[in-house]
């Protein structure tokens, strides 16, 4: 596995936070996914070896915890809250708008591989719903018009990227 020196350093540091190495499994999965975009079979083996575990001990985490992916997601990741308070404020319409904008169903990635749209559970921002997380940023009170605006910004970013 090829990791940047910074990631390797973070990995070695975080293992020291725990008296038992296995506890570092989730932190390592986060670090690996942040760098590589997903958790590959090789990464599972690598993490297991690093923590002196069997690959199944890591694999069972990747298959349980919703945030870990075995396949790459789009360059931008849109998570729309599906749960009740946001739904009462119009969250389903917002998700539908993103779906229309990028032509992909919730959970899927757009044909060009640029954008993943996902319906997720309560993001703990229910008072300012509907809420949408785009990559690491939370957007509050998103209605269909705002969703179109955000989608426009993402498309412009993709176009700029493609041009370089």
């Amino acid at each position: 596995m090829n990791f940047t020196p910074e990631t390797l350093q973070k990995i070695d540091e975080v293992i020291t936070h725990y008296p038992v190495k296995r506890s570092a499994a989730l932190p390592l999965l986060h670090l690996v996914q942040e760098e590589q975009g997903h958790i590959s079979a090789d990464a599972i083996e690598w993490i297991a070896a690093k923590l002196e575990l069997q690959p199944i001990n890591i694999y069972e985490l990747v298959t349980f915890y919703p945030m870990f992916r075995q396949k790459p997601a789009g360059r931008r990741h849109i998570k729309v809250c599906r749960t009740l308070s946001c739904a009462l404020a119009g969250g389903f319409e917002v998700c539908e708008e993103f779906r229309r904008q990028f032509g992909c169903d919730p959970g899927a990635t757009s044909a060009d591989g640029e954008v993943t749209v996902e319906f997720v559970e309560c993001l703990a921002s229910c008072g300012t719903g509907p809420v949408v997380m785009i990559d690491e940023e939370l957007h509050e009170r998103v209605d269909a018009a705002r969703a179109r605006e955000l989608a426009g910004q993402i498309k412009a970013g993709s176009a700029a990227n493609a041009g370089t």
């Binding site: 989730l26 986060h30 919703p66």
Partner: protein
Amino acid sequence: MPHPAERRLIFEHVDEPGYTTDLPCYLAHGGYEALKKSVARKPEELIDEVKKSGLRGRGGAGFSCGVKWTLVDRKSGKPIYLIVNADESEPGTFKDRYIIHQDPHQLVEGIMITCWANQVRQAYIYIRGEFPRGARLLEHAIAEARAGNFVGPNILGTGYSCEIYVHRGAGAYICGEETGLIESLEGKRPYPRIKPPFFPAVLGLYQCPTIVNNVETLCHVKHIAAMGGEAFARIGTLNNTGTRLLCVSGHVQRPGTYEFESGKITLGRLLNEICGGPRPGRQFKAVIPGGSSSKILRFGERFKVKQRDGTMVDWGVEDIPMDFDSLAACGTMGGSGGVIVMDDSVDIVAALANLNAFYAHESCGQCTPCREGSLWMKKITARMVRGEARPEDGALLKSVADQIAGRTICPFGEACAWPTQSFVQKFGDEFRNYASRPNPGPAATELA
């Protein structure tokens, strides 16, 4: 500006212009004075203050914080761990995120006082994976506090050392349940442990005695250390002391998080006066008062409740004081403080379908009644919303829910059964007549 009916301890500086998350700002507002005061006292004295304060946990169950700390096994010779539950995943709850994002040092100070009181040398903050910015803010605050000698080796020259590390979850609601959380922190799937024997106070993290407390609870500890347990107990009402953060979402004019003396505000005043009432032209229909798992209340219901002094009162939904005991007396719970409001535009079956989808997604799958039952409840309500409702569906839903509660390893079983049980009980007519309801408009597909 806080509403005049609010009483702000934890939220004193939240949304205050110019108030920042860094250490100099916190110190300029009297930060870490309570910790300085605390480390000059004996740990037992602080546990006593917390007992006197009457503080009850804000994570959901409302368990006495002082009792929890007393139950910790101190004779085993094993290290004692503190785990801060910052998983905040109960739908309708959004207070811990506010604290972390706006005043992380308040939490760090509460953690350190708790650690000193319980002679903990290692604390972990388990923060849900969807709060990447919150995790960074906390890591930054801890680094600052370490530089300021409030965290780390030889704290404030006392010879006492304690570390805090931030540990990120990865999107699973069940990690909020304390034994599931412990498994997760050990690097495993978050399968809740069976109690007995795995009470965290005795056999917690790494089979060592462990305290698990909610973010808000630990912030209250800071205020208790500052003002004293007796002064804290004078805030709020008997057996429901201190202030409480209430998160209001859904169909009100001004949703948000507000802080009140526990039990000093009624649900009606909260929704009508503080939150501005229903949307124009609408009326309140139902409210879930303590996070999505608490039982729903239907506007128009009456509750005959026996008061502490033996007198009987007759309350409507609007009259219920917002505290653990009053809400429990009305058959629901204060839970996590998440108040979800629904007006008369809401299709109640679809609202339940929405929640059932949540629980089916989040069941960890260890117990058959919970794994299968949550899925069946989801499928039945989804089918109803799709237009294939049968008159007996309400009874079917109830029978599934009744077979989950009380038959599982962890309280998620109850948490997923209560919405179905209470929705069907209180809106039985809507379930029975769903197929022939007068205007099956878009209200259903907007929610499920």
